[in-house]
Each structure stands twice: as C-alpha cells, then as structure tokens.
C-alpha cells in the first residue's frame, strides 16, 4: 500500500449502545489535537440498542472533509456487520478485528491485511466489572490504533484526563486499557502503517463541535427565552444544547429563577403554536425539528407568514419522504420549507455550512424574524447537526443589540394617529406591530389567519387582498437585503 501521511479513512463498526462512541471520539479528537484536519461521522440506525452503528473518521491534511469511497482501515468489533464490513475495506487496506474468536473463513480476503487484536480476552483479563469490560475493550483498540497510526499518546492521555476529570478510578482503568492496546500492537504488528499521522499545525484556533450544539448556543446568545419542541431525530440535541447553556447562563444565582422557558410539547404542531404565541407576545422564541415536524408545522407556518408573527425554526434535515431514514442525512426539506403552507407563501431560509454559521444564523434568525415579522428557518441537516465538524470558533461582539424590529411602545402609540397593524408606513413592506398589554386604548388589534386590511380588519375585498399579498412580496424583497450573502465554494485546483 502506498504511503500516505494524514490522508486516510478509518471506520469503526460497533454495536449500538456499547459505549463505543466515547472511544471513537477519543480517537478523532486526538487527531484534531495533533493539528490535523479530521472529520468524524456517526453512521447509526434508527434504534437505541443492538443494531450496527459505524463511526467513520476521515483525516485529510488538505482539508477534504466530506465522505469519500474507500475505507483504509476498518476496526470491526461487531460480528453482526462483519460480512459487510470486510467487503467495504479498500483493496490493500487493513481490517482490525477482535481475535478472541477465530475469524470465519468466509471473511478472509487475500487483498487486505488483517490485524487481529484479542480485545475481549485482554479486557476480561484486565477488568472484572462486566460493564467496564465492554467499555474498555473499545479503549484497547484505540491503544492499538495509536501505535499503528502514530498517534500522540500524550494527547490521548490528556483527553482521557479531561473526559473523566475527578474520576481517578476511571482514568486509571482507561489508561491501563490504552496501554494494553499500545503494547499489543507494538508487539504483534509492524508500525506505523503505510498511512499514518504526523503532527501538524493546521487547526490553529478552530474548534470541533456539532451544529446542533452551535444552534442551541446561538439561540441563547440571540436572546431566545422560549423554546418549545417535540423530540425528533436529528434535532433533539438542539433543545438539549439550549437547555444546557440556559442552565449555565440563565439561572438567577440569587433566586434560582429561570430566564427561559422550555416546553416539551405534545407534538410539533403545538411546539410551533407555542413559538408563535410567545413571539406574538414579544418574547424571542424558537423550535427545532426535522422534516416530519416541518410537515406538521406547515399549518402554523402559514399562519405566522400571513398573520406576520415572528418565529424561528431550526430544521435539522433527515432523509425522507415520510419517516424515511430518520438517522441518515439528506436535504429534502428545502422546497417544503421554502413554500411551507398552502397559498402564496415564500419563507426566508438560512443555510449554514458550519457550526460557526449554525451559531451565527440561529442568533441572526431571531433578529430577522422580529425584523421581518415572519418565520425564519435555519436549515441544517443531520450531518452538520449531529456530527462534529472543524469550525471557526464562535464569536460574539459585545455590545451587539438585538434587532427587535418595528414594535411601537405606549409612548409612540400616543403619537400615532390611527394605528394600522398591516400598514406599510416605511415602504419596505414591513408594518409596525404592538405587543399585547402595551396601551390601554391604542394599538390593540386582532391577529388572524384570514385575510385582512391594513387595519387588521377582516376583509374579503379583492383589492385589499392583493395589496396585502403585494406588500408581503415587497417584504420578501426587503428580506433579501437583510440575509447573509450566499457563499459559493468551488474546487479551484481542478478547474480547467
């Protein structure tokens, strides 16, 4: 096999629920810490326990971090998927397996190398607790890989120390398992393999983080106070991240009161309804969902569009149609989201390409929703949302003010002649709104999903309807000037 430095793919084949995720992350994160661009992908089934799951790590010094064909090294600890895993190894590649049991003859290929490590045997010998035996078996293969791929052992140890901070017993056990792997590989295999790692300084100040965390954090920074959601893969961790950071930053230290409200709704319809209710009442609110949720939210998205109520939706897309492949990535919601609801609707979508943009766009979407008084959808996908990506670090300009849009205060209402909720005063298609409870006699209006005139009165008059629809289109034009510029990426080197 050709020698390759910092350019290969390792795939881990595990059983869902066996604790492989942290070991695999340890592997990827170590490479990241070595200053080498790396991208891990979780490839998992729509299942909680027992089905095959894979973790694929691409290392690319040149920064090519999408998935590509060809597995250079397969670490297979899942007998269930082994037949398929053996086939997927690139010719000339390597196949590491648990050699406690003999490898069945049908899995033997003559164009790949086999690296048998008796992980179970070693683990059973070293550890007595059954649960630990299973978990630490994974660290043993990380140790073996460290030796084979020339990983910085010190970096692994630092990471273990960070991961189990304060749990000395666990740190010791992990260190022991790591060492077992290292020693085994050193003793039984030629190392390093032709493809392996060399320390670089290509990461600089970048971070390794998933998009959902970034969205949740962006919502905290963007000032969202109400989050309503219904659990759905792959968006759930957006809500979890939001809650995590709210707990960190939004609890009054004196009283313990929360400067946020998170409601796990009964369904996506209700989640969007709550967002709309809260936004209508002047709070910044958002929800996160995926395709099937967007389908359900169509009703409310139409209402928010037509009644001009702000709303923010983070759509972490997954494969459709219908329930589709809940744990596989796809971008199938673009049309659904762009024109959500019946009738003439056009929605503003923000499409982040990195965790940094997930953070920025989620915060920005809260501004845009209030500025434009319409739903804003942040369209990420399972890959961006649930996998760790190397990203520019998050940044917040201190002193940045939220753009609360055109909202009239009680004092301003005093100086407004006749308040027209849907009156295009400024010529940008965006009318002025009032929060409930502002003024005893002025500025109250009726919000409705039916057609209305400039003063929010119900009407079926053709001319009034058209004026309203034309104004919404004008607002759409205004939106174009407010959203981030589209970025077009091109592979320059291959250009002819």
């Amino acid at each position: 096999m050709k020698k390759a430095i910092n350019d290969f793919i390792v795939r881990f084949a595990n059983v869902n629920g066996t604790g492989s995720a942290s070991a695999n992350f340890l592997f990827a994160k170590t490479i990241f810490r070595m200053g080498i661009p790396v991208t891990p992908k979780n490839i998992f089934p729509s299942n909680i326990q027992g089905l095959p799951t894979w973790y694929e790590v691409r290392v690319s010094e040149k920064g090519y971090l999408g998935r590509r064909e060809g597995i250079d090294l397969m670490v297979c600890v899942n007998p269930q998927s082994m037949a398929q895993d053996v086939k997927n190894v690139k010719s000339g590649g390597y196949f590491m397996y648990d050699s406690t049991k003999k490898l069945p003859a049908e899995y033997l290929r003559d164009d790949i190398h086999y690296l048998g490590v008796p992980m179970m045997e070693m683990s059973n010998e070293a550890f007595s607790d059954p649960r630990k035996r299973q978990l630490l078996k994974n660290i043993i293969y990380v140790g073996a890989l460290a030796k084979l791929l020339n990983m910085e052992v010190e970096a692994i140890k630092v990471l273990i120390g960070e991961q189990f901070e304060g749990k000395a017993q666990l740190i010791d056990a992990n260190m022991k398992a790591l060492q077992l792997g290292l020693d085994y590989a050193a003793k039984h295999f030629d190392f390093p393999l032709p493809f392996h790692l060399e320390k670089r300084d290509l990461i600089v100040d970048k971070i390794l983080v998933d998009g959902n965390t970034a969205c949740g954090l962006g919502a905290v920074y963007g000032g969202a106070t109400v989050m309503a959601w219904y659990p759905i893969t792959p968006s759930t961790s957006v809500a979890e991240a939001f809650e995590h950071y709210c707990k960190m930053f939004r609890i009054d230290p004196d009283t313990g009161e929360h400067k946020y409200a998170i409601i796990q709704a009964e369904d996506e319809l209700a989640a969007m309804g709550m967002v709309i209710g809260a936004s209508w009442n002047g709070a910044r609110a958002f929800t996160a969902t995926s395709g099937p949720g967007v389908s359900l939210m169509n009703e409310f998205l139409g209402l928010a569009y037509f009644a001009e109520v702000p709303a923010v939706l983070v759509d972490v897309q997954r494969a459709g149609p219908s329930t589709g492949m809940p744990t596989r990535t796809q971008q199938p919601d673009l049309l659904l989201a762009a024109y959500a609801s019946h009738g003439d609707t056009k929605h503003v979508l923000l499409l982040p390409a990195s965790p940094k943009e997930c953070f920025d766009y989620t915060a920005l979407s809260l501004d845009l929703a209030e500025r434009l008084q319409t739903p804003i959808m942040v369209m990420t996908d399972l890959d961006l949302g649930m996998n760790d990506h190397i990203s520019e670090p998050f940044h917040w300009e201190d002193g940045r003010q939220y753009d609360r849009g055109k909202v009239l205060s009680a004092e301003e209402l005093e100086h407004v002649g006749k308040f027209g909720r849907y009156l295009d005063v400024d010529g940008d298609g965006i009318p002025y709104r009032t929060y409930p409870g502002t003024h005893p006699t002025k500025g109250a209006f009726f919000t409705r999903g039916t057609s209305k005139d400039e003063y929010a009165a119900y009407t079926e008059d053709g001319a009034a309807y058209k004026r309203n629809m034309d104004r919404l289109l004008k607002k759409w034009d205004t939106a174009k000037s407010l959203v981030p510029k589209a970025q077009l990426y091109q592979e320059k080197t291959n250009q002819k």
Binding site: R33, I276, A283
Partner: protein, 350 residues
C-alpha cells in the same frame, strides 16, 4: 343598518374602580346568528372583566377556529386578540403565557375546536396547569359548517335535520378533572347570574381554569329532541351551588345554613362563597366532583356551577420556575452571556 353598533352609551353607566364603564370592555357587534348562546357568554366575559376592574389591555384573547373562536372580536375591543388555527389555541396561549406572565389569558374554544381537532392540545394544556381561563362554548354541533354533530353531542340527541346521534359524547368537564385541571366549572349561557361569578373566580384562580358552558346553537341545534337546546338545558339543569366571588377577604357577616355553606380561598386570599345545593359533593375533592358529574349524567341532568377547585397546585410558570419579570421584558443584559463566556466555550471544543 343594524350591523353597526351605535357609539352612544347610557349617560349614567356605572364605572368600576378603574373608571371604566362596561363599554370599555365591549367589542364590535357580533356577526353570529341572532340569539346565539356564544354572544351571552361574550357578554358575561365583558361583565366579569368590568366587575374585576382588569385593565382591558392586560388581557389577551386567544381562540382557534369556529363560531366560538370568532367571539373574541365581540368582547374586549381594547385587548389584543389572536384567532389562531383550528384546535390550536392551547399552544398559542401557552406560548403567549410563557412570554408574559403578567397578563390575563382568555382562551375561547368550542366543542369541535377542543373535543375533536384540538383534543391533543386541550388535554396537554390541562396537564401543564397553564394559568389561563379556558372557556368552551359548547353547543354540540358544528355551526359554521351548518350543523353537523360534534363530539360533545349527546348520544341520542336529535339534530335539526332529524337524525339521531349514535355516538357517545365526550364529557369535557369530567375529562378536565381527570386530567388534573385545577379549576373546573360548568355553566349555561342563559344563566349569567351563575356564569359571571364563575368567570370572575376563574380569572382569579392561578392555574388552569376550565369552564364548559352549554351554549345553544339557535340556528342548528335548538330543535325539540336536541339536548343542547335552550328548553332542554333549562329543564335538565342542576346547579351544584349558588356562588359569589369575593375579590378580597371580607369580614364574615352573613351566616349560611351550616353544612351547606362553603368558602374556598384562592391563592391571593380572594374567596369563592358557595351555597351548596348538591349534597355529598365537595368541590375540593376530585373523586367527589367526578362522582357528582357521573351521577348527574346518569339522571340525565346537567350539573352546573363550580365542580372542582384546587389552589395548591403550581401553574406552569411555577413548575418552570420562570423569572419574576416577564420574559418578553428581558434584554441583552439579562439574556446574552457575552464574548468572554464564549471564549471559554470555544476552549471546551478544542
């Protein structure tokens, strides 16, 4: 010309302690059918808000879709209203409440809106004990689509067209008690003397206050054989009690017949004064309330009045322990953790 409401009012119209007359709490002229029970309920809301001297703009009215959901146009014209989508009022109300805990929320719904398309949201808003007044204007039929039976139509009730409803009725009041509503009452649109104090008490109750109000549909469900007609309801109504809502703790002066009189204190010290008519019924006991309802049903009676109340349970804001200041009034300084914290978050992802 009688689609416009004259602007004149009675020159000696009494004022409440805020200096407002009843007029300040009215909305525009109803476009529902003449004689619709819903209009009476709207009027009862107007009366209750006037008597409670709430500032009209501190009330938000939220509804779904249907005849009942149109009514917020017809009361509290100085309040913001939100006529949302069918069956989804509870979620919009929940969001609104989360944004501003300092306002009074009126949710108006109908039997179709709550017992059919909105059943999911209805039961969940109860579970959360959202601090709101939830009124179902229950006429047992779909008025806007011309009189089809709804899920609360009684089995055996006859429609205007003459067909008999073969299905069991959903009993919203029993269900609300079962699901943990902290205030459940039942009333009749034609009995403002009972309805107005019930609405007042519901407004003062901190938590989910549910009012199932039988409200005859004069156009499609007021025929002989219907169990939601004015005549039928008047003949079969059975009040649990007569009641008064007492906004502040008064000196006890009146004496009531022992065993029949009961006072229920709400969280703020205001009182519901009950003069019980039903025996073996304790409004602070869930089992007893459910029993009373079931027994009334067995006798084909419609039990009205306050059925159940519990002022101990925390409302949703209490459960979530939200900030004392309404969330919609928080700004960057309250909400944004700032760059310094972000630097350490970044460090955690390296």
């Amino acid at each position: 010309m009688s689609y416009l409401k004259p602007l004149f009012k009675h020159p000696r119209l009494p004022k409440n302690k805020l200096g407002y007359t009843l007029k300040e709490y009215e909305g525009s002229l109803s476009t529902l059918c003449a004689g619709c029970g819903h209009d009476s309920i709207s009027a009862a809301i107007v009366q209750a808000c006037y008597e409670m001297a709430v500032e009209p703009h501190k009330v938000a009215k939220i509804s779904g879709i249907g005849c009942s959901s149109k009514t917020p146009t017809y009361f509290l014209g100085n309040s913001h209203g939100f006529n949302s989508v069918h069956g989804r009022m509870p979620s919009v109300a929940t969001g609104a409440s989360m944004a501003n805990k300092d306002m009074q929320y009126f949710g108006v719904s109908g039997d179709g809106d709550s017992a059919s398309i909105g059943m999911g949201q209805f039961v969940h808003v109860i579970r959360r004990n959202l601090n709101m007044v939830y009124i179902v204007m229950n006429n047992g039929c779909y008025g806007l689509t011309k009189g089809q039976d709804s899920a609360t139509a009684d089995q055996g009730s006859k429609s205007k067209a003459g067909s008999i409803n073969p299905f069991q009725a959903i009993d919203l009041a029993s269900m609300a008690i079962e699901l943990g509503a902290s205030f459940v009452a039942q009333s009749f649109s034609g009995d403002k003397q009972q309805l107005v104090p019930l609405i007042k008490a519901a407004m003062q109750h901190k938590g989910f206050a549910f009012l199932n109000v039988i409200s005859p549909c004069v156009t499609f469900n007021n025929n002989p054989g219907s169990t939601k007609s004015y005549d039928y309801v008047r003949e079969h109504i059975e009040a649990t009690s007569t009641l008064d809502f007492v906004p502040e703790m008064p000196e006890i002066k009146a004496s009531y017949e022992s065993g029949k009189s009961s006072r229920i204190a709400l969280h703020d010290g205001s009182l519901i004064q009950l003069n019980k008519l039903a025996t073996d019924w304790d409004p602070e006991n869930r089992i007893s309330a459910v029993n009373a309802l079931q027994q009334a049903r067995a006798k084909q009676e419609i039990l009205t009045g306050l059925l159940y109340v519990n002022s101990e349970w925390k409302d949703l804001h209490g459960v979530l322990n939200t900030y004392h200041k309404p969330l919609n009034r928080l700004d960057e300084s309250d909400l944004c953790p700032g760059e310094e914290n972000l630097l350490s978050i970044n460090a955690g992802y390296r």
